[in-house]
């Protein structure tokens, strides 16, 4: 067998397998990836809405409006209010739960590689964590905000 033929007969490495028929005792790992990707998307929503709300008063009010349903979101005086933080939480919760439901529906019958997912998951968490460090991220936010004409 030539080297080329040998190469052709070897199966391509696949990270995502096609849908597998449900067998007794088999629980595909797609549901795990869905359940853990969704909160990461929620965290990114939290970060984006936070930085958007800091660009201008009108954008802060826009984000805040999503959180008016949360008790304490509005108020003044010594008791204060939670402010636009409630809007950021609401948007993050919505993205978390909706994306969880969608990805669970899409992937629950698929066997996905958890060992491949782990570095992506950790990398995304590291990125979003750094995204909340103002000295680090503010120059980027200001640059993007001015380029997009938001400030």
């Amino acid at each position: 067998m030539t080297a080329n033929e040998e190469k052709m007969t070897q199966p391509e490495p696949v990270l995502v397998s096609p849908k597998v028929p449900l067998q007794e005792g088999i629980v595909p790992s797609g549901a795990l990836v869905a359940a853990t990707l969704a909160p990461v998307l929620g965290f990114f929503t939290l970060m984006l809405s936070h930085h958007i709300s800091r660009l201008s008063k009108s954008l802060d009010q826009l984000v805040h409006a999503y959180g008016h349903w949360i008790p304490g979101s509005l108020g003044s005086g010594p008791d204060g209010s939670i402010g636009s933080y409630t809007g950021k939480e609401t948007l993050a919760l919505a993205v978390w739960f909706i994306s969880w439901a969608v990805f669970h529906g899409l992937w629950r019958k698929q066997e996905l590689s958890i060992l491949t997912w782990i570095p992506w998951f950790l990398g995304a968490l590291l990125l979003v964590t750094l995204g909340f460090l103002h000295p680090l991220v503010d120059p980027i936010v200001l640059f993007l905000g001015s380029r997009l004409g938001l400030i």
Binding site: V27, M47, G80, F132
Partner: protein
Amino acid sequence: MTEESFFYGHISKYLARTQAGLALTLLIALSGLDFFFPTNYSLQAGVHGISAIAAVVFSTLLTHRIYPLIRGIHINFDSLRHWVMIATVLNFLGAVSGNWIYSRYRGQDGPRDWILANVPNFHNILMEYKEFVSLFPFPLMLATSFILFYYRTVIPERRDLTLFVGIMIFLAWFFLAMGFVAGLVLAKLRFV
């Protein structure tokens, strides 16, 4: 077993339990005494402090269970499921009570005003960081609870699943501990 070794074995067991009980009591007192602080917001402070400390204690205990889990040593998954569920509830309470006290933090002449006037970076960097990463442990713990229930029939045989559960518990503890320390520092600077 001789009578002597039985005696010393019992003594060490009771000492260990006493230490755990004393540590828990002292930790709870660290925030529980907030209820008696001279402020109109002592209830919010006490509830948030106790739920945060309880969440830290449970998450720390959970991290001690992930090492045998990752090494593949047989563990009691029913017990782990229950502990993770309790940690999930405590993290939820910590986030909700955090919202409750946050409005006073931002209120007129509240801690934010004082910190911005005196040491602004503690608000602009530390608090702006803490208020968001403190929200991370609840979703991470809820996802871990889901994994432990959804895969309960196969998880004892799947090392990749137990590794992921271990990573999730570790991450939840890390974000919780960061939020806890930042919260303590801010409360030391200016109480509500």
